[in-house]
Amino acid sequence: MSEKGQVRAGLGIPSMVLVLLVLCLAMLGVLSLISARNDAALAERHTELTCRYYEVATQAQVALAALDQQMTEAWQASQSDEMYEALCLDIASAGASQVEWQGTTAKLSFDAGFDRVLVVEVEREDWNHAAEKRFVVTKHVLEDVLEWEQTDGLILMGV
């Protein structure tokens, strides 16, 4: 009780400590929120990248099935290795992909998004063996299409 009958409590320094404490906790809360949001964004990106990869891998398998069917028809229609090769070279697309022939190798590319391409290469078997197996998959790789560019911004030197 003060001299004038007012109820008073000593709150100067404790109030300041309390305000500082609340500010610190608020700051920690904001930092936690930012960190959690970044982690969640990273998780979503990882999920999107993974799903996209398996989507194009599925497209690749469908394209291989279509290519096998087309090559079987070419084998059935041909009488010699030369004829079979010529008919195979006429196969320009399989599934959702363009087929690029380089000799006995066929290359199929699928856009996997995020500057990536799934490249599948198959090696054609010759006419004598085509009855059992038309091709062998020799490459199934996810490649970056983004090229590195030299920048003058940051030079790291060894110590």
Binding site: L11, G12, L18, V22, S32, A36, L42, T72
Partner: protein, 136 residues
Amino acid sequence: MKQRFSSHTTLIELAAALLCFLLASVTVLGLFSKAYTISRNGRLLNRATIFAQDCAEVVAGAADLEEALQQLGYEPVEDGVWRYRPDAELMVLLRLNTEQTEVGSLVSGKISVMREEEVLLEMETARYNNKEVIHS
């Protein structure tokens, strides 16, 4: 006149300070709560992705698909549908479809990872089998 710093206040000021402290505490707790929820959802999505990826790899690469799925913990629900419950929260559903062609078979799968009724993610997978390769 001698001026002195007073650290005393009235009851009204005390009540106001307590109210501000309570409001600030609620705000801080709200921030932490939201951060926890977002973080938990992110972790759940990561786990869902891992389970879906495991399943997709099995469909794409296992020699004996059914045995591989059973080893992974999947159980058949109905024809072409498999279910896996890694814990009480998540459930993975795999729907398989086989298309026979003249020279082979195309096995395609649709993977759904769910939390209760909510679908967290869906993934596709497939494998083309040449008949001769399978029988060899």
